[in-house]
Symmetry: C2
Subunit: 493 residues, 2 copies
């Protein structure tokens, strides 16, 4: 029983190892035979599907439509936008041939050297180039704008060091690409989508985030402005959880996308792009989970409630089955996803440990004596607290409890973040605190040079310039030069 | 007005050209900058999303779970299953390098020759190999079975001649891969999934299909049996719309996937795989549409009802808006997707033509006189018939009408198929009829040799051996050798 669970490394012993083990032991994902690429297992994928469904609804509510653009991008497209190629084009999967043939030596198959492509094709690391090449034919007048497209797809970046969900060569994501008639409208859209990400993170993932602006150094390659949501993991490190870019007219210029405006003048189109990926799974896991396994927010848990019967013989099980059946039906009517696990080949203790490991938010345990008393044992996964509740009205009770848990884990994560966010005013303090983790609110002189020097000295990067931060004149933590406001420094995933 | 529509080629003049134009003019898809790859535009993608959602629900109702496996497959995997490599591995996209670098000559980027992969990777043409390589670690006991996974993803086959939706280098699909403890269970699962496809085609796509078994020659590479649903297009050609394969133990043997059965013996696992793709979009378009554009089945139409106001001034429009608003709300409550198009920058005639082109099943037109009379003009897209209906209760009326249309276009397609299905008993008849199109029910001696000879002579292939066909001894249409039952011959897409 619970052999796997016993072996889960504790967070305090090795947070990184705990994460890697948990991803595998909770059946979320595993390494594949292809370097840096993971297999997302059914339980992990079920969580991702819930995220997708919710985000997709939220995007559509803002007028966004889904579409699909090609996986492969002609190599020459990548060099059209000068900054973009610098930031993206280098580490990527390159398709050079389109045919295999039987090995003349009789050993399997080899690449057919005669089937070389005239121009190499790149597996998309992101799709601005191919999409803006397409938009050229879709946009000619202000009447064609705004154009609001999103795609759910796989992308590939040949990362050297990979970690499941956090950084993988292939990952799943959505990428929104919008086209606008004015600068203001595009900028507003970039912020609108950042707010969608923020709402999603807080209401569904129970993940408190700081919304902010990236420094020039951390900007998306080709963007004029990158907005971000930054979250804090339990080890005090930051995790960039979603970004939204105001691209100005850079891609329109690179791909010659112009429109006739209302004043009958030809103008380049304004752009945004924005994305979140399976990296959110990493954020979800690392924010809430504990030494017993996953803790999932009820709003994204594939199974919200599990019911486990305790019985000594078939007769008792039949009795319990009869009581549970209408409860399951009523919970489903209330929109609660519930599993009744009356499988006979596993002992209750094994089931308990397994559902704890998998982060099921609420567990109900029911035996013959409970039925006599009209009660049921309730355990909430976030606190591991057990208590007894009345069977009568248990469905509404559970529904409310799920909301309590959702709020509870959000509050807990927020409290942790607050307890690990520090205003730091001297370089000594900075160096000392960064070793302990957390968000450091400090002044910075606004130069890339200083930013990089601080990174070199402390491994801390500027996560963002908070959008709701106050103007507060001060002096740069490193150089002492003047600064208008504090920024957030942290080590990060 | 309706300039594009006027230019739509008529089916009778050039069916193939009509299809190609319709795909583009109805905003479903277009060619991309990458050979053989298409862009699926928002309107086309919205139809695909409705198909996905429905199929996904139907899969899950059979116990299937979604997962995600890598895009790239090590080249050596493809040669593990001997037949599979013959059927699949040849025309595919091969990744050989993982880095670009700045062109030393200063012209954009070039492939970095030092970043050559040790083993080439293939963009999946289908995923049996990588999935069975993964299943080896997931399955050790009969308790791990059945394993029922599906993935929604992109795949790539380097087709020489491509047509949008029907045959593209990259396409979207789902591929289910199941693992079972017994031969019977696997075979039953393959047939169960074929029936899911058949139900989906008939109830949602309004597409009558023949369920059947493929001949050895037309089988999936590596399968023991391939089941298929075959549909007839309006030009009398067949379109294979979905296949389900009983794979026996071939992939389990190739990837060494064994389990301990209930008798404590080690045994190879039994497998199925099954898939439908964006090719279904082609079937949908070609089955129902007409010379005025798309005809969409209400169950899959992104917009089921469009309401167009007719007015001379702002006052009249305000009056119509007030009447339409509660109708829109009630239709939505009834689960009907409705668009009220009161945009001022397009004339009603343009709107009519556009929604006809896009196949919106029901159009309501409303002017001041209609409001006075308490009536509304209703047009159904399938028959283009217009009639007047009472405004009172129009929501329920429309909801029922949508079901009538759904049934109507199914019946029409079935009638066409029946009128173009022929029992053929002489080789002369066969040769004559195949030129006119349709399904030819004829006897065949069961040999691949004869099948290929007939294909060579007439371009007709055996679409399937119908599963609900009667045993009826006869003589092969070409060789005169004995045959146990008729098979379906047709030319096909």
């Amino acid at each position: 029983m619970a052999i796997e669970l016993k072996n889960l490394t504790k967070r305090a012993d090795d947070y990184s190892q705990w994460y890697n083990e948990l991803v595998v032991k909770a059946d979320l994902a595993e390494q594949s035979a292809v370097r840096g690429c993971m297999v997302i297992k059914p339980y992990g994928y079920a969580i991702w599907e819930k995220m997708q469904r919710q985000l997709d609804d939220m995007f559509k509510a803002t007028g966004v439509q889904n579409a699909y653009f090609p996986l492969l991008i002609p190599k020459s497209f990548l060099s059209r936008e000068a900054e973009h190629v610098e930031g993206f084009a280098k580490e990527c999967a390159v398709v050079t041939h389109h045919r295999l043939m039987n090995d003349p030596g009789g050993k399997g198959v080899v690449v057919d050297p005669t089937a070389r492509l005239e121009e190499e094709l790149i597996i998309r690391p992101t799709s601005e180039t191919i999409i803006w090449n397409t938009y050229r034919n879709w946009i000619s007048s202000y009447r064609d704008l705004p154009l609001l497209c999103n795609q759910w797809c796989n992308v590939m970046r040949w990362e050297m060091r990979t970690r499941m969900f956090l950084r993988t060569a292939e990952f799943l994501w959505q990428e929104g690409h919008t086209a606008h008639a004015t600068r203001d409208e595009a900028q507003a859209k970039a912020i609108e989508m950042l707010n969608v990400y923020g709402d999603f993170a807080e209401k569904y993932m129970a993940l408190p985030v700081v919304k902010g602006i990236k420094t020039a150094n951390e900007r998306f390659a080709g963007a004029l402005e990158t907005y971000t949501i930054e979250a804090m993991m339990q080890d005090g490190k930051a995790l960039q959880s979603g970004t939204s870019h105001f691209l100005g007219q850079n891609f329109a210029k690179a791909f010659d996308v112009k429109f006739i405006n209302k004043e009958n003048q030809l103008e380049y189109v304004w752009a945004t792009s924005w994305g979140v990926s399976t990296r959110l799974m990493g954020a979800l896991i690392m924010t809430h989970s504990d030494d017993n396994g996953l803790v999932l927010p009820p709003h994204l848990a594939p199974i919200q409630v599990v019911i486990v019967p305790i019985y000594k013989n078939a007769e008792q099980l039949t009795e319990i089955d009869a009581v549970v059946e209408p409860i399951v039906a009523k919970l489903r009517d209330l929109g609660v996803s519930v599993k009744y696990d009356n499988a006979d080949n596993k002992r209750p203790g094994f089931k308990f440990a397994d559902y704890e490991l998998k982060g099921v938010p609420v567990r109900l345990v029911l035996g013959p004596r409970d039925i006599q008393n009209g009660t049921v044992e309730v355990m909430r996964r976030d606190t591991l607290e057990k208590h007894s509740a009345q069977l009568q009205g248990i469905e509404e009770y559970v529904k409310n409890l799920l909301e309590d848990i959702q709020q509870g884990i959000y509050d807990k994560a927020l409290k942790l973040r607050e307890s690990m966010t520090f205003k730091v005013d001297t370089w000594e303090q900075f160096q000392e605190q960064i070793e302990k983790g957390g968000f450091l609110l400090a002044h910075w002189d606004g130069t890339t040079e200083t930013e990089e020097k601080i990174k070199e000295l402390t491994k801390a990067t500027i996560r963002c310039i908070p959008m709701d931060g106050d103007d507060e004149p001060g002096k740069c933590i490193l150089t002492g030069k003047p600064s208008a406001r504090r920024v957030i420094f942290a080590r990060n995933y």
